[in-house]
Symmetry: C2
Subunit: 507 residues, 2 copies
């Protein structure tokens, strides 16, 4: 029930990314360039300038075939406890170690047995972006000046399905793809002038950021469109998602990336938060008690019309097994000639149609809520990976219906004076399946008010409370919430990012 992909394809369990295969393109982040496992000694999360490809690092070959986020600093014993479906101990970074940037809170818990390992992954980094221009010059500065680069803060939650490989790979590499996309924009984003419409062809040519690069407007018939700095960052994130997905397609066999993952990532860059979501994780801001949604979920229900339109325009993608029409339930052969409720790709309402032979095919989109499926297989319609995903007992590929593109929302941190109790909460669906936005807001209020405003551990305590509140306690043959309803048996991962004074409490 909790699987996004039906059990027929869900038994593939990833064993993490320990292959030594290199990325083919030297410009792309390399799948083996970052330490995948928790056994590494934690290092500064600020990556070194110029380290975008990085030398392959020897990773410890252990008997453990899974990994948890590096920042959890788990010992081998801690890793075993994190992998224990019976105890379901909540994991957070240790109080004693280096805090996450901005004193970000984090907590996670493994599922109740639906998959062998925790298929969620997380990443929290400060990433330095060096301009291509400064690197292609005669000297690479060790102490980059203002115009040669900038940092972005980065948080990512990756919820895997049909194995943890895609989530693990994305958690190590997606921010590097974003960095690559931003390298061309370093000067442009720091220049108050509008972005130039046109750039010379050569990368690294001096003067890229100057408005003199603006090709003079043509177009009597159509004035040129003004493009904002924000929309360049959004475009960079969108293209980074696509490149990440393409890298998974290329390298999936070497890295055993058989499944896919949802991706919810946040960038803080030059005063703004960019929240990018592809999948069914969710982000909300709780500000002075008010809830501001920062994402929406992409599921067979919310994307029904996009999916149906694709099936209608490209019927070959449906094979002979599926119909692009939606029916309230599968049509039975005995109902031929009767009139049944349906809707097509153009409709939001329902109408009756006479049932014909083609309508006996399986509907492309079927089911409701958490049971909604595309091609009777997958319950989430955006994310990374899933390149091998086929319809059960068929060779029909599902990937053409999935989109790797996130929706990106922008929140300007400078437009409001945030207090220490204002937070951005990111959670995988394990949290949101059993917790409403307003319940999260109530927990934010309850937990944060019990800590001093300047206590940096309060955000971890809040993340733990949210995970515990969604997991429940073992009782009556299951994990139960205080109201005796079932808690989430899914993997649950939560980031709590304080908005009051970005970076001020970064240690």
């Amino acid at each position: 029930m909790l699987n996004r992909v039906r059990s027929a394809v869900a038994h593939l369990v990833s064993s993490g990314g320990t292959s030594s295969q290199r990325s083919k393109s030297p410009d792309l982040p390399n799948a083996t360039s970052a330490p995948p496992a928790a056994q590494e000694i934690p290092k500064s999360s600020r990556e070194k300038p110029g380290n975008e490809v990085g030398a392959p690092q020897k990773t410890a070959e252990t008997t453990l075939s899974f990994s948890r986020p590096t920042f959890l600093q788990l010992s081998p014993g801690g890793l075993r406890r994190a992998d224990d479906h019976a105890g379901r101990a909540v994991q957070s970074p240790p109080d004693t170690g280096r805090r996450l940037p901005w004193s970000t809170g984090y907590a996670e818990v493994i599922n109740a047995g639906k998959s062998r390992h925790n298929e969620d992954q997380a990443c929290c980094e400060v990433v330095y972006v060096e301009s291509r221009r400064s690197r292609s010059g005669t000297g690479v500065s060790r102490e980059p000046s203002h115009n040669q680069g900038f940092c972005f803060y980065y948080w990512g939650l990756f919820d895997g399905h049909a194995g943890g490989g895609a989530a693990e790979m994305a958690s190590r590499l997606l921010h590097r793809h974003i960095r690559e996309q931003l390298k061309d924009l370093v000067e442009i984003l720091q220049d108050p002038l509008p972005p130039p419409l046109c750039l010379p062809s050569t990368l690294g040519t001096p003067g890229v950021s100057s408005s003199s690069q603006l090709v003079s407007p043509q177009s009597c018939w159509s004035p040129q469109k003004e493009v904002t700095h924000d929309s360049l960052v959004v475009g960079a994130i969108e293209n980074a998602f696509q490149l990440m997905d393409e890298q998974m397609a290329r390298e999936r066999r070497g890295h055993q990336v058989e499944g896919g993952c949802c991706a919810l990532v946040v960038l803080y860059l030059l005063g703004k938060m960019y929240v990018a979501n592809a999948g069914d994780s969710r982000a909300i801001i709780v500000r002075n008690g008010e809830i501001i949604p920062m994402s929406r979920e992409f599921t067979p229900e919310t994307e029904r019309q996009r999916l149906q339109l694709l099936g209608f325009l490209k019927p070959e993608l449906l094979g002979s097994e599926f119909t692009h029409l939606e029916f309230p339930r599968r049509v039975q052969p005995k109902e031929l000639g009767q009139r049944m409720l349906y809707r097509d790709q153009n409709m939001t309402g329902w109408a009756y149609k006479k049932i014909e032979v083609e309508d006996l095919r399986f509907p492309l989109v079927c089911g409701e809520g958490k049971k909604a499926r595309v091609m009777a297989t997958i319950g989430v319609t955006r994310g990374l990976g899933d390149h091998n995903l086929k319809v059960c007992s068929s060779t029909l590929p599902i990937k053409p219906f999935l989109s790797c593109f996130p929706e990106v929302r922008v929140y300007d941190l400078t437009q409001y004076e945030h207090c220490p109790d204002d937070v951005l909460v990111l959670g995988t669906d394990g949290l949101w399946d059993v917790t409403s936005d307003s319940e999260v807001a109530a927990t934010v209020d309850r937990v944060l008010s019990s800590y001093e405003p300047n206590d940096p551990s309060r955000y971890t305590a809040l993340a733990q409370a949210l995970v515990l509140g969604a997991r429940g306690i073992p009782r009556d043959r299951g994990w139960r919430l205080p109201n005796n309803k079932l808690g989430s048996g899914d993997d649950i991962s939560v980031f709590v990012i304080p908005l009051g004074g970005p970076g001020s409490s970064y240690s």
Copy 2:
């Protein structure tokens, strides 16, 4: 500038629907079944039961090749004044005649010369829907009982382009298509039980409304979806729009329906308002001073991603002339090899790409605001008609990119106790191009507060004030608003529908 379709195709001027050609299908509303012109003596707006096809009525052949809504009750002299671009007299139904249902206010004014006639049309009707079941029985009752039928109230604004023919045809026939779609639903909509998933094949079989018609749920894998009564009405409206569009395609030559039209229609049915919009007209509710948007506009900008996706999936629709990529302005040959801002069908942000030869093609979507165009031709992406529309100096059809499907929003009138100052305002883009939602709300407050709450003429006065406020007065070689900005030179049409006590003031 005001034309939705570039001047190359805008010179086609409709001469109204006076052809005697009959609809081919006896089940469909007939294009000649309603009086098209204002010369008719006004009759009761309540249509007779069973009159869905209607005998062709002889229409007065006059030298006037255009028509205005019947309810304006225009004399030949009045018709000439309504057609006068220089005077631009505001037209409303006469105070002395029969009021529109609910004391609805209406006002319109012709454009300042952009087209020969006023290409807006309007319709306001009370439509009786008789069940197919009651008619297919042995006796047709003259006094239909509760279950044999119901009435809906109907308001429609149709904003034509490239001629007034499509708007004129839609104003006469769209509500009849809606009636046809609702005929199958008469018993179902009046039955408190959920709609049956499946109906017997034979129309008019007794017992259709009974829940015993529910085929027992199958689907261990997927529980059957619950379909609401509302969504059946929405589906009926959606299909009616499609059938209206198909009828225009079939009959366009005989009726000289060369252009197209936006359609904004409202149904009041069984306690709820259904607001259906296909185009760039707009509906808002002003309730206790608060603005509730009841529609959104469909333009090349708001539908950019749908259009680009279609061009990407079906490149043959672009010919060799267009690219599905968007650029901030047209790319020039000398920019080959340079990198220019672009976005594709998946992106909301912008990024740079190296210009290749194919990028020199014209962008499928270009321009901003009122100048935005699909294929450099049309500025509205949903509506009825336009079956003949081609790219200027080309045989490439544009219709595949246009959608005839409305977005339908539902407003439950019973959920709030409305006062006499609460209104639903419908306007063509002539109103909204120069008037914001909040300016309309201010005018609602100003005008209605100057009339007694029970004065039925107050809504017409409000409609007139809105039209006058958007038209302005002739000054400094143009029509000017009080702030000296240009008023709208477009056709302007406005309905004001009072929400306080539906039907109570119907005379």
